[in-house]
């Protein structure tokens, strides 16, 4: 049973995205596609980043499957950062459970991007590229782990943002850096060996690799999925604790 208040907030978040501009009804698909196009040109055509053999031969598919979850994650956390401030009118005047505000932003961001990637993967299949539709199911633990991490971080940054207004500005460069050190735009094999170990300590590197294993190499569930879920749950719980401490007092600063 989902709290009707949460459902109402999700409804609003979806409406906000689709009612804004003339292009918003297609933006959820178009924006990641454009980003994909830019990266495909820079890394695929200009820099000729090789696709690791197990992932087939299409750089676009390789890029899409790695990039999309990352865009979903980064967008979810970045958008949620200002969510409490954006809903100040509501949370300082009504007894709306605050925990739902960043949560609804994250859920909508991830759901829309997941849907977009699913559409794209089916499209790749229709075009005869090497993708596995089974990946739509087998990637779910990785997606859920990503969702949990995003929720935990969203709770932290949204509450912290109210007190420290510089946080959302820091997020963009942090996510940009992170995206370059988890092998989204190029295979890990193309990184010099001495740096590869560093990249491999980044858990997101493995999460992105899991996405590719499932969608592009037809992999099934593995024990690593459980580790991702556990890690995600820990981060979500930490975010929850953070939010519970800070959020009851945010009206003093809104």
């Amino acid at each position: 049973m989902i709290d009707p208040l949460f459902r109402a907030l999700v409804d609003r978040e979806i409406k906000n995205r689709f009612l804004g501009g003339a292009l918003s009804p297609i933006w959820w698909l178009a924006q990641p596609l454009l980003t994909l196009g830019v990266y495909a040109i820079v890394f695929g055509l200009f820099m000729r980043a090789p696709v690791p053999p197990s992932y087939g031969d299409s750089f676009v598919a390789f890029l899409a499957v790695g990039l999309w979850p990352w865009i979903a994650f980064a967008e979810a956390v970045t958008r949620s950062a200002s969510s409490l401030i954006a809903q100040a009118a509501l949370i300082t005047r009504t007894a709306l459970p605050r925990i739902y505000v960043p949560l609804s932003v994250v859920v909508v961001s991830l759901a829309l991007n997941w849907l977009a990637l699913t559409v794209i993967v089916v499209g790749f299949k229709v075009l005869g590229m090497q993708v596995y539709l089974s990946g739509i199911v087998f990637s779910l633990p990785a997606w859920i782990a990503l969702l949990l991490i995003a929720i935990g971080l969203a709770w932290m940054v949204s509450a912290a943002q109210v007190l420290v207004r510089d946080i959302d500005g820091m997020l963009a460069p942090v996510f940009m850096l992170l995206s370059f050190i988890c092998g989204i735009q190029y295979g890990i094999d193309s990184i010099p060996a001495q740096w590869r170990d560093v990249i491999l300590t980044n858990p997101f590197t493995h999460l992105i690799a899991r996405m590719r294993d499932t969608y592009l190499a037809g992999a099934g569930f593995v024990w690593l999925d459980a580790a991702f879920l556990l890690g995600g749950a820990i981060i979500a719980a930490a975010g929850y604790g953070f939010f519970k401490r800070v959020a009851p007092h945010v009206d003093d600063y809104l």
Partner: protein, 385 residues
Amino acid sequence: MSDVLLSVQHVSKVFPKIGRHGAGFAALARLLAARPSNDGFQALSDIDFTVRRGESFALVGENGAGKSTLLKIIAGVLQPSHGQVARVGSVGALLELGAGFHPEYTGRENLKLAAALQGLTGKSFDAKLDEIIAFADIGEHIDAPIKTYSSGMVVRLGFALVTALKPDLLITDEVLAVGDESFQNKCIAWMEAYLADGGTLLLVSHSLYHVKKLAQRAVWLDHGRARMNGSANDVAVAYQAFHEEKQAAAKQIAVAKDVTALGQYAVVTLQIDTLSVDGMTARGVLKSRDGRRPRVAVGVVRIDGTPVYGTTCELDAFGLRESGSGQFEFALTFSDWRLLPGVYKFKAHAMDPEGMRLYDTVEREFTVLGDSRELGLVRLPHSWS
């Protein structure tokens, strides 16, 4: 019938000081360490009262006394810094004009979230939607964005929602002041029916009339402290008296200002010397530029401008006494005037010696105290048989 619906126990609220650039990492760290900050603006200190089922309770006080902060704490919007609030049963809150309404969404869309916030969801919301829209009586505007509404329409919508909820405890914060008269009457009628049905009301109002009419008990908040807690009538009378004193001080300042009044004939001073339920004594000085003896017209109006009585010195064949060069004075006594409790204005106008043209108007506000619940402006002598 006597179970406690709301108990406010030693509630205090401190708003931390915040600078232009937010609170910073130090404040964040303090919250994470769960160490409350004790320096800041003390909005409420040690407020303590209970509201039982079927009771109606009012909060009175000046702007900034902490009334709205207290209501927000009671409604669960704000957390108290110290103390606690215990609530039983459903609570409907009308806190601020358009609270919980988003300007970009239509009235209908806003109702959905606002109703969910007050616990009305799903099928029971759908069932009541028509009733709500009918009470709000805003016609086709229900499907227009709230940003296109007048403030009166927003209040209508908010109040209509509450009427559908019929909460155990209804909290309202001065929202009725915005609607037009007929809607206000509709709301008051609804509230009286709600109270008659055993509803419980907690209201903030600047209208002592509403306080006396709707509430049985009241708390007077003064700078965040409960200055008085007792029967609504006692509190209303004490609060009114406090205001009168304050106004008297303000009047002295106003008198000094009026001396510079310009024009051929002008009222330079006007003051109320004594005031009681039975009458008033007042005096004033008029100025005449050409030295001719001006006339004065005086009147009493209700604070909303409804005339109660007016006369001129000419009608009463009284001539102003010359008290200095170009200065003419008068004293006036009203006795046994039977004015009902309320706020009134005493007005004096300077007129030319012919009594034809009105030159100047000076007003003094005054309050007739009392706990009578008779309606109207004056008490007409009457007897029943």
